[in-house]
Amino acid sequence: MATRLRLLRLLRSDAVALAAAACLVVVVLVALFGPMAVGDAAGGINLRNRNAPPFEFTRPWLYWLGSDSLGRSILARIVVAARTTLGIALASVAAALLVGGAVGLVAGLSRGRTGEYILRGVDVIMSFPSLLLALIVLYVLGPAPSNIVIVLGVTRLPVYVRTARAEVLEIRERAFVAAAQVMGAGPVHIALRHVLPLVLPTLLIIGALDFAYVMLAESALSFLGIGVQPPDITWGLMVAEGRAYLTAAWWLAFWPGLAIMMTALAANLLAMWFRIANDPSLRGSLKARVAGNG
């Protein structure tokens, strides 16, 4: 509790991190409630507002970012696509974090060779370009959103397994684990009470960084045409569709790409900040630098 308050106070003192957090909150709110607010402007054909360039403030506000050749509002489409984009990224990261964290925990706690074998298996996934793996799986299994989540989750799995295992191996050697064993603690108690609470913050930080990464990966897949398929839309798909009209209507590809970048940037900045705030040694050096300058 006290640590959470301290974090909030620290967050308030860092303008960049605060802005990133605010940005993420807005994006999430938009994804949750935005589609209701824009109604059917995303799909509805509106010939009066065809090919509207951005910044024509005489049109209704939904058209301020422009519209496509069918007169669909770009802003409305970005809002609707936010839900799919964020949803896929979140689901993939959550799946990778849960499965990878659990596997890593087991690999780290198990005596004998099990941990070693798990690590080797994970290395196989790791040493292979994730996009190629996604290409082949989606080619064979078809580009349904659930398959995309599975593919992205599997390609991100190694990071969590490796990190969780490495942390567990380090924590396992600390004397408080031996102390708990002396008190009569079994492996389950040690895993849940002593190891997990110390591993979790690290995994969550990686999760935040990964959220940005996975969102970019999904966008790339959709851009290449093997990710999300119409009539579903994601930001990556919107960029792909806008690419054909690049010279005539640049805004079709520009705005959704910007949305991807801003969201990824906010997630990355926040994860970076959280890592520093959560690490006493790094935090000390940050503050010390401030004192040293003043």
């Binding site: 004397a175 002593h194 004192a291």
Partner: protein, 554 residues
């Protein structure tokens, strides 16, 4: 002010070092001044946080911003702090050099050691060939066998003692006039420490250099130094000739350091103890390595068994076996006559309740994410029925008071306590199940001398009050001498000598026990000699004496 005498080799004047921290400037060194003459040997004595190593770093120009240095450091009359960087670099390594506590991290892991020794010569202008020859010569001089072959070896291929020899060779490469030794033997076993100190003494004689020994160990200081400076919390509290300071300390802190407290640790041994925990012919293997071979020992109710040994003696493996943390590869550990690995159900619960532990590192033995209350209550979570849940907080507060902490500390986290305080929390946790035996695996080794004394006094006191038995594992003889009832001396996995403590220490029968006793720097006899001097020798150069330091510095 003109000084007619030649400038001292090293003069530290009103030195103050501040570090920037989260809460502002932290004064690590405040108004420290001392001098070191040519061919002289000075010991700077202090515990952790005394600023002794920071002073050494300031002399060697190893402090960077955000550290702030005030005052002056003069070498042969020249100010090291204000001279041109090029000029200063030409002095370091050539005229004054330094060795550190942990040679492994202080040697570059990816370069051959011979190259690293020779580098000192090449930096200061020697051609490569000459540097190589000098390095080979030095490797032989510091006692590295087969220098020609070992020249190309890397730091990780040497033992701790050998690495320190390599550091010394590096420092000696250009026959400096001043050697700073920053806790050079702290990480080493006592027998190795004695060898390193001997090597340093020999080199000093051969090269005629001055020595600035930074140490927490009064025994080491007494062995090498002619004068001492005692530091505490960044300030000099006392300075003078070594016999004078040791025989007639003026400052209460120096007096505290020098008090022979061993008598205080003594507590009455039980009459005839029935064996409670017994190790029989124990063997432990790690692959092909046999860590423990045929060790037998037992500890009775209310008894203190000391286990003494250097690193690699197998004493910690013995502790792990006693605590059922590691299965035996031969022999058995018996609790109340029963093999602990044959126990289950109520028997195992009884064993777990009765045998508890305190470990060496107070920083890793407490989970940093748990409050003190949760830490102390954890044994009760795991052993339901010992203390009813409603009484947890109350009982935890009682335990804290018993080990000398306040009940208000219950809601704090381990990170908010010092090393000594954490070890007290660990002891309180070990007592939570009202055990009969506490296994202390190097439980005080990581603590400062004065804190060690406090913790051992607490343990002795608790035995008197609660009738506890201890298995007290240590590498440091000085502390256990009077504290333990019986002692077992281990070497390379075997017991070389066992018996009542007083007998073993007074008349060691095994040569290794004798070597251990002879290697640990012992003040007693020398102190008696100094105290018997009719007139304490005059303190060294009067300027060296601390006096009230100028606060804040220049």
């Amino acid at each position: 002010m003109a000084d007619p005498a030649p400038a001292p080799l090293l003069a530290v004047e009103r030195l103050a070092v501040d570090f920037a921290t989260e809460t502002g400037w932290f004064a690590a060194v405040r108004g420290v001044g001392f001098e070191l003459a040519r061919d002289e040997s000075l010991a700077v004595i202090g515990e952790s946080g005394s600023g002794k190593s920071v002073t050494a770093a300031a002399i060697m120009g190893l402090l960077d911003p955000p550290a702030r240095i005030l005052g002056d450091v003069r070498f042969a009359g020249e100010s090291l702090l204000t001279m041109a960087p090029d000029r200063r670099r030409s002095l370091y390594g050539r005229e004054l050099s330094i060795i550190f506590q942990d040679p492994l991290t202080h040697l570059n892991p990816v370069q051959p050691v011979g190259w690293q020794i020779g580098e000192v010569c090449t930096i200061h202008g020697a051609p490569r060939r000459e540097a190589r020859e000098r390095a080979l010569e030095l490797l032989a001089r510091v006692g590295i066998p087969d220098p020609l072959r070992r020249y190309a070896a890397y730091p990780h291929e040497f033992s701790g003692g050998q690495r320190q020899r390599i550091m010394i060779a590096m420092a000696m490469a250009l026959r400096p006039r001043l050697l700073i030794a920053d806790e050079p033997t702290t990480a080493l076993d006592v027998t190795v420490q004695a060898q390193i100190l001997e090597l340093l003494a020999g080199l000093r004689e051969e090269y005629g250099m001055s020595l600035l020994m930074i140490t927490h160990d009064l025994g080491v200081a007494a062995e090498v130094a002619e004068r001492v400076v005692v530091m505490r919390r960044g300030e000099i509290v006392e300075a003078g000739s070594l016999p004078r300071v040791f025989a007639a300390p003026r400052h209460p802190y120096t007096r505290e350091l020098l008090t022979d407290r061993s008598e205080e640790y003594r507590s009455p041994a039980p009459a005839a103890a029935a064996p409670l925990l017994a190790v029989e012919n124990l063997a432990i293997r790690y692959g092909a390595f046999r860590a423990v071979r045929g060790v037998s020992a037992e500890v009775g109710k209310g008894e203190i068994l000391g286990v003494i040994g250097e690193s690699g003696s197998g004493k910690s493996s013995l502790a792990a076996a006693m605590l059922r943390l590691r299965p035996c590869d031969g022999g058995a550990v018996r609790f109340r006559g029963q093999d602990i690995w044959a126990l289950d159900g109520p028997g195992l619960r009884d064993y777990r309740r009765s045998v508890q532990a305190v470990f060496q590192d107070p920083f890793s033995s407490l989970n940093p994410r748990m409050t003190v209350e949760r830490l102390i209550a954890e044994p009760w979570v795991l052993n339901p029925g010992v203390v009813p849940r409603a009484r947890w907080r109350e009982r935890a507060a009682e335990l804290l008071e018993m080990v000398g902490l306040a009940p208000s500390d219950l809601d704090r986290y381990p990170g908010e306590f010092s090393g000594g305080q954490r070890q007290r929390i660990a002891i309180a946790r070990a007592l939570a199940l009202e055990p009969e035996i506490v296994v202390c695996d190097e439980a005080v080794s990581a603590l400062d001398m004065t804190i060690q004394a406090q913790v051992i006094r607490l343990l002795a006191d608790l035995r008197g009050r609660l009738g506890l038995a201890y298995v007290f594992i240590a590498h440091d003889l000085t502390l256990v001498r009077k504290f333990v009832d019986r002692v077992v001396v281990m070497k390379a996995g075997e017991v070389v000598e066992a018996g009542p403590a007083e007998e073993v220490f007074a008349n060691p029968r095994h040569p290794y026990t004798r070597q251990l006793i002879d290697s640990s720097p012992e003040l007693g006899p020398k102190l008696a000699e100094w105290r018997a001097l009719p007139d304490p020798p005059a303190p060294g150069p009067a300027r060296g004496a601390g006096g009230p330091p100028a606060a804040g510095g220049g």
